[in-house]
Amino acid sequence: MRETVVLMGMPVTVDIADAQADQKDMDAVFDYFRYIDEKFSTYKDTSEITKINNGEIGISDWSEDMKTVFALSLKTKEETGGYFDIFASNGKYDPSGLVKGWAIYNAAKILDERGFKNFYIDAGGDIQVRGKNSKGKNWKIGIRNPFNPQKIVKALTIKEEGVATSGTYIRGQHIYNPKKRNEFINDIVSLTVIGPNIYEADRFATAAFAMGRKGILFIDGIKNLEGYMIDNKGVATMTAGFHKYTTQRA
C-alpha cells in the first residue's frame, strides 16, 4: 500500500509492502509528520520554533521534542567541526537540516511498532527502508541526476539503511557554509550519503555538503557511512566502500 501526501511543502511517500497494511497505518505516519511540521516549521507563525525565535517561549517551557532536537543539533555541530549549525544567518534557529531525518527515523519506528517488516518512507528524497519490496526483493534506490530530474545516475540496493541527498538543488541556492556565512556552496551540486539509518545519513549529508569538495573525504572517514558526490561538471567522487551498494546484494 502506497500513498503520497504533500507535507512541509514536499512530497512524502509511505509504501508498506506487507499485505496487512491499511489506511489507519498510513494515517499514523502522516499524522506524525503533520505534528512535526506544526512544531518545527519556521514558515508557520504558530509553530513552537517560530515562537522560540520570537522570544515568546522561554527555555523552561520547551517541549521534550524541542529539547531533544536542540541536543542532537549541538552534538552534530561538535561531530562535524561546526559545519552543521542550526543557528542560521538571519540570527534565528532553523533545525530543519536535522529534523527531517530525525522525523523519518521516528516515523519508521511507528511502523515497526505496528508490526511491519517491509516498507519505506521517503520525505522529499530522504529515505528509510526496511525489509523487501512487494516482489520480495531488496529495495532499489536511484540517485537523481542533479542536471536532469527525470534521470538517475546510480541504482543502489538497500537493505535496512537510510539514504539522504543534500544539494544546491537548483544551483546557487540554499546551503551556505556556516563558517563563512556569505559564501554559498556552488562547486558541488549533490551529495548522497548512505548510513545505518536515515537520521545518521541526513545529518551528515547536510554537514558534509557544507564542507564543499572535502565533504566526501569527511564521509569516507566515518565508519558506517558511504557517499557519492557530484560536482558542477558532472564528475562524481565516491567513498571507498560505496561500491558495495551498487552491486547486487543477496
Binding site: Y120, D126, I152, R171, N232, K233
Partner: protein
C-alpha cells in the same frame, strides 16, 4: 608533522587533479536531451498496481486529472512541475521545466583524491523503487507544486 605531510599531499594531489581537469577535455557527458526516453519512474509490477479507479472518483482531497504548476524562478532557470491526481490522491509529480547549467566537458582522473574513485556520471536505465535527491526540497519546486495542487483542490 605527519598530519602536515598528509594534508600537503592531499592539497598537492587535488591541485594536480584540477590542473589535469582544466588542461584536457576529452570526455563529453551525455546530453540530457538524448537520453530522455527511458523513464525513471519505478515500473509497477502487476501485483502492486491498484485496481482501476472509476473516472469520476472525487473521494480524496483532489480532483482527478493532471495539473500544471506555475513556472517558478530558480535563479539559474525555471522550474515547473505537473501533479497527476488519481482516485483523489497524488499519484505522480513530473518535471516540465528544469534548469541545466552544467559544465560541458570534463576529464576524469582516477587518482583525484586519495583512496576515492572518480567517474563521469552516467544515465542509468535500471528500474528503481524510490529516488533520492535534493530537488524536491528546493523552493522553486515547492512553489510550482503548491500552485498545481491548488488547482486540483476539490
Amino acid at each position: 608533522m605527519k598530519k602536515f605531510l598528509l594534508s600537503s599531499s592531499v592539497i598537492l594531489a587535488f591541485g594536480a587533479y584540477v590542473l589535469l581537469k582544466s588542461a584536457r577535455s576529452e570526455y563529453v557527458p551525455v546530453s540530457p536531451a538524448t537520453v530522455q526516453n527511458d523513464q525513471i519512474t519505478p515500473a509497477p509490477d502487476s501485483s502492486s498496481v491498484p485496481p482501476p479507479q472509476p473516472p469520476a472518483n472525487n473521494s480524496g482531497a483532489f480532483k482527478d486529472g493532471q495539473y500544471t504548476g506555475s513556472v517558478a524562478d530558480a535563479y539559474y532557470g525555471n522550474v515547473q512541475v505537473m501533479a497527476v491526481i488519481q482516485g483523489g490522491k497524488i499519484a505522480d509529480v513530473q518535471f516540465l521545466e528544469y534548469p541545466n547549467d552544467r559544465g560541458t566537458s570534463v576529464r576524469i582522473n582516477s587518482q583525484a583524491m586519495p583512496l576515492l574513485t572518480d567517474e563521469a556520471i552516467m544515465a542509468q536505465s535500471a528500474n528503481v523503487d524510490i529516488i533520492s535527491g535534493a530537488t524536491q526540497t528546493s523552493h522553486a519546486f515547492r512553489e510550482s507544486l503548491a500552485s498545481a495542487l491548488a488547482k486540483a483542490k476539490n
